[in-house]
């Protein structure tokens, strides 16, 4: 059975139609029209994506791979736009459209009072289209297309509140840092074309073995393995998009954007594009041990060290953002030990529970009138029970409570890293294990500071009811009691809570131990994956989880957070003072930002100014041009005459000169 290409096209284009209508005809369709048309488009995509997944998994449909149209054809090289839909793609499509749909609905509540309502819906629908083009691509070119298109939408959405200086700085920073990654990515793509003479996935992957043994002379007389160079270049792209150290600096700042997009773009979908890309290119990455070790070390470093920063953050969204960085590190580390299925599995479970956590944070932010500092929260559980319960569910999933979604995927990653013998695996194992403790600690800290303990905000009754969107009021002061968010906000929370609990248990068998991905991911050395024992069923796995090292570490993190933030809050400050240098290092985020600012941003400006004033103006203009003009003036005195400024004189002189030349020529040669 074949998938219907028309359905695939509708899946991709329906959100685009919504985006165009809501964006260009914003004043004609109005608010209701804008959210109706975009939600209808994304809902259609979502339903059809589920249908495609059903067809592929239960309906016996074959993977679909065909070109839509030729993008260019030059000589023997051509590039196309087309779709490759296998089970990996279908899973991504379902995740993207489902989370996107939830976020669309949620936005009705979250952005209700924002002037840019239609614009926002247009952007998130455009994002959904771009992301679908990325995951459905059947070639490297279109992948890059989607890759940069989601970057564009991310730019627009981080800077959505364009009046805020921090927002318009953050969006520029995000775009440029991502461009550093794309620089590598593009070179990787160029390398693929060089060695395979095509950009088509199927052809490249079918002949990927041809790359082994090939070399590329990067430094003369020092040939490098072509597979290593290409894979590292491609992975640099993933480092940008999936925010891996040292290109992670843009993601925390991206929290300047409205919360729904933090959930959709900067947690659930776009940032996982790098993970998806490496998994998709597993046939290439399997050719290079070096590249995979590189991936592993970068991933593990990100997993542990960015998680640590989450501990000292007070902004509720930033805690979740650092948590996202850390989880992306886990996925990357899994890729590095060839556990592609585990990485993609975690990508999926993470998409649900992290979207849930972000949207939950957003719900809290609505209740707190756009106050994001947890030091002014506390005790919210009695005001907003649905947000409270779903946040707990998300946290349990994130920290890997046995039975919850994140447990299956994260344990699989830790196990795979532990069993790997790849260079760097020892260090990585330490990072991902300790990361579990850190994750539990910052996650429960967030829960306790937000929902438990004393109320640290003040309600000024009858103190003006001006509803201020952007939180310019005194910190921690509310005009009235916080209350649960409206149904358009809580329903998506509940809808996301369900998969956050069950999706792991439901799919662990087929995704991790079965043959769900089939040939979509390829593992060269079986040692990397599947070495772990027989699958004993989700329930037995859950029971075994309670005695594993990760659970014990998570429990310690939970216990410590509980003790400090629930029973003895004073200890937090004491510890901070005792460990000030460490705290300061985390608070300053290892000084990445000031160093980058000084070296790259400042350095570029200084260099540019030097080249401009020194090179262009100093040498070329002053010495060469004006110098020769002066020399001409000295010898012939013509420049003063020319400088009369009378343009017709010049023009006339030129025509005269031309006539002279032609006439002379005629006279010399014509005779």
């Amino acid at each position: 059975m074949q998938l219907n290409p028309t359905i695939l096209l509708i899946i991709a284009l329906a959100p685009l139609v919504g985006a165009v209508v809501a964006g260009i005809f914003r004043s004609q369709v109005g608010r209701i029209g804008a959210h109706t048309v975009t939600i209808a488009g994304v809902a259609l995509s979502c339903v059809l994506s589920f249908y495609v997944l059903y067809q592929l998994v239960w309906g016996g449909a074959e993977s679909y791979n065909a070109n839509l149209y030729t993008w260019f054809q030059v000589g023997g090289i051509d590039a196309h736009v087309g779709f490759l839909v296998d089970r990996l793609t279908a899973m991504m499509m379902v995740v993207v459209t489902f989370v996107s749909l939830m976020v669309h609905v949620y936005t009705i509540g979250y952005m209700a009072e924002d002037d840019g309502y239609q614009r926002f819906f247009s952007y998130i629908a455009l994002f959904t289209f771009s992301m679908l083009m990325l995951v459905m691509s059947n070639n490297f070119l279109q992948l890059f297309f989607g890759w940069e298109a989601v970057g564009l939408v991310s730019y627009l959405l981080i800077g959505f509140w364009f009046k805020r200086p921090t927002a318009v700085f953050a969006n520029m920073k995000a775009f440029i840092v991502n461009r550093v990654g794309d620089f590598g990515f593009l070179l990787g793509i160029a390398g693929v074309l060089y060695f395979f003479h095509t950009l088509d996935y199927a052809t490249v992957f079918a002949h990927s073995e041809a790359l082994s043994g090939k070399t590329l002379e990067i430094f003369s007389g020092n040939p490098w393995s072509a597979a290593t160079v290409i894979c590292i270049c491609l992975f640099i792209g993933a480092m940008g998009k999936s925010a891996q150290v040292p290109l992670h600096v843009w993601l925390p700042d991206s929290m300047e954007g409205p919360t729904p997009i933090s959930a959709l773009i900067h947690a659930a979908t776009m940032v996982t594009a790098g993970i998806f890309m490496v998994a998709r290119m597993s046939p290439l990455f399997e050719l290079s041990e070096t590249a995979l070790s590189f991936v592993l070390v970068i991933g593990a470093t990100t997993a542990f060290f960015t998680g640590l920063i989450g501990i000292v953050q007070n902004d509720i969204k930033r805690v979740v953002a650092y948590s996202t960085l850390s989880q992306l590190g886990y996925m990357t580390a899994a890729l590095g030990v060839s556990a592609y299925s585990a990485a993609v599995f975690h990508l999926m479970t993470h998409a649900f529970f992290k979207a849930l956590l972000f949207l939950g944070a957003g719900s809290v932010i609505i209740a707190m009138h756009h106050e994001q500092d947890m030091r002014y929260m506390g005790g919210l559980r009695k005001y907003m029970p649905i947000t409270f319960v779903t946040a707990w569910i998300g946290t349990l999933a994130l920290t890997g409570m046995p039975g919850f979604a994140g447990f299956y995927s994260k344990d699989a990653i830790i196990e795979a890293v532990g069993e790997s013998h790849r260079w760097g695996a020892g260090y990585a194992y330490l990072c991902v294990l300790l990361g579990v403790f850190v994750t539990a600690f910052y996650s429960f800290r967030l829960l306790y500071l937000t929902f438990h303990g004393k109320e640290r905000f003040v309600v000024d009754h009858g103190h003006g009811h001006g509803h201020d969107d952007h939180g310019h009021h005194e910190p921690g002061h509310l005009a009235h009691d916080p209350h649960e968010s409206p149904a358009v906000v809580t329903w998506p929370l509940m809808a996301l809570a369900v998969p956050s609990i069950v999706i792991g248990a439901l799919t662990v068998g087929s995704m991790l131990h079965g043959d769900y991905f089939g040939s979509a991911v390829r593992v060269a050395h079986e040692a990397g994956e599947g070495a772990h024992g027989e699958f004993v069923g989700w329930f037995q796995t859950m029971l075994e989880g309670f005695v594993g090292a990760p659970f014990i570490l998570a429990f310690l993190g939970f216990a410590l957070a509980t003790y400090i933030y629930l029973f003895n809050p004073a200890i937090a400050d004491k510890t901070k003072n005792a460990l000030y240098p460490l705290w300061n290092m985390l608070d300053k985020k290892y000084w990445f930002d000031p160093i980058y600012q000084a070296v790259f941003a400042r350095g570029s400006v200084v260099l540019g100014r030097g080249l401009w004033k020194g090179g262009d103006v100093g040498v070329i203009d002053n010495v060469l041009i004006d110098g020769s003009a002066a020399a001409v003036a000295r010898t012939a005195g013509v420049v003063r005459w020319l400088q009369t400024g009378y343009l017709y004189t010049y023009a006339f002189a030129m025509i005269l000169g031309l006539v002279f030349l032609l006439g002379g020529l005629w006279w010399v040669v014509g005779k």
Binding site: G75, F183, E217, L642
Partner: protein, 503 residues
Amino acid sequence: MMQSLLSILIWLPIAGGFAVLALGTHRAKEARWLALAVAVATFIVSIPLLTGYDAAAGTMQFIEQHRWIAAINANYHLGVDGISVALIVLTTFVTVLVVLGAWDSVHDKVNQYLAAFLVLEGLMVGVFCALDALLFYVFFEGMLIPMFIIIGIWGGPRRVYATLKFFLYTFFGSIFMLVGLIWLYMQSNSWELSQLAALKLTLTQQSWLFFAFLVAFAVKVPMWPVHTWLPDAHVEAPTGGSVILAAIMLKIGGYGFLRFSLPITPDASQHFAWLLIALSLIAVIYIGFVALVQEDMKKLIAYSSVSHMGFVTLGIFIALALVRVSGNKDAAYLGVSGAMVQMISHGFVSGAMFSCIGVIYDRMHTRMIKDYGGVVNTMPWYAAFVVFFAMANCGLPGTSGFVGEFMVILASFQSNFWIAALAAFTLIIGAAYTLWLVKRVIWGEVTNDHVAKLKDIDAREALVLGAFAAMTLLFGIWPEPLTHLMDASVKHIVDQLLVVKAG
């Protein structure tokens, strides 16, 4: 009519220009409408060129040949291949937008202003279809005259300096070319480009000629280090002048390399390809950094133009290295096609960027970045266009700005990893200078009263920017029609390179 289509395309706008001139300075309204009619008519006449050209053949078509100056064997010989067709239609298209763009912003001697552009259009079309070297030279020099006038009369306060610099540079360049052409004529007793290409020349002879041509075309492109006239010319030029300069006139440099340097001096071109590649990379990176620190919007975009044109020369000369050294013809086609696509795309994107600057210059009478800030608050539709063109300027996929750069980088990698890496650096630096500009001008709170009083674009401005945007988007998501139009012609040029002429 089809037999003399090219002549019509040259002489219709020139005659129309003189008709507009004849209206006199006091009938501005009539001058505008007549100029628009002439420009639109010329554009419509250029459509059959696009539809009637047999792209699969890739040969010279729409040939016209008449004796011109019998005594020196010079002919009025016109013809176009796919490359010329693309550039000519770009010229007629952009001229319409320039006439529209000047509607409300030029009030002084309107008829002369518009006449200059129409005459310029005809001369530029002439450059793109002349197959006789002397005829080419006449158009090549002739087109400078209206541009001098445009900058010199409607330009800014330092227009005399800018015009003089422009004059010195281009005159210096073209005089060498003329000497080279005369020498070639003496060798072959012909000005026919095809005959000159067939002429056997030693490497030394070719090298002299190569440098003579190089000076002329490098100034036009402009390549580093002969680019410093461009920022000054742009800053002083009125909006229309900048648009034509960036969108069309710079392309004549790249076109010259393809029509003269490569076919006539292939061995010398190969010999010195390393130099041209190095200069191109310097243009991409060095100029990128210089663009970053500009305080004048027009200067910034002017430097950005130089940086982008680096891809044109890189694509052309990387092709030489590829086809001659490694025999990699497919990659060579990709390089030259990329260069051509970049030229066309840059025509739309830079034309649009200069038009965008013109829109706010008309309102604020300043080009300084620091005088702006938060324009999006008062001009949301304008801001949407600027962000779109900014994205095209930093080569976002889905816009035409991506296509050419992508192809050239792919081709470069096949020659050398480092050349590709240096070229790809534009991804970072291009984004940096463009988005920083957008950040300072478009985003943020309204910074001053002048910005607060800005009115969003009117229908005419929306039409101009919308037309540019449509083309940028079309060739971004579907460049195939463009590459198809030029493919066979590009192959022809590259295949010619395989013939060793020396020795």
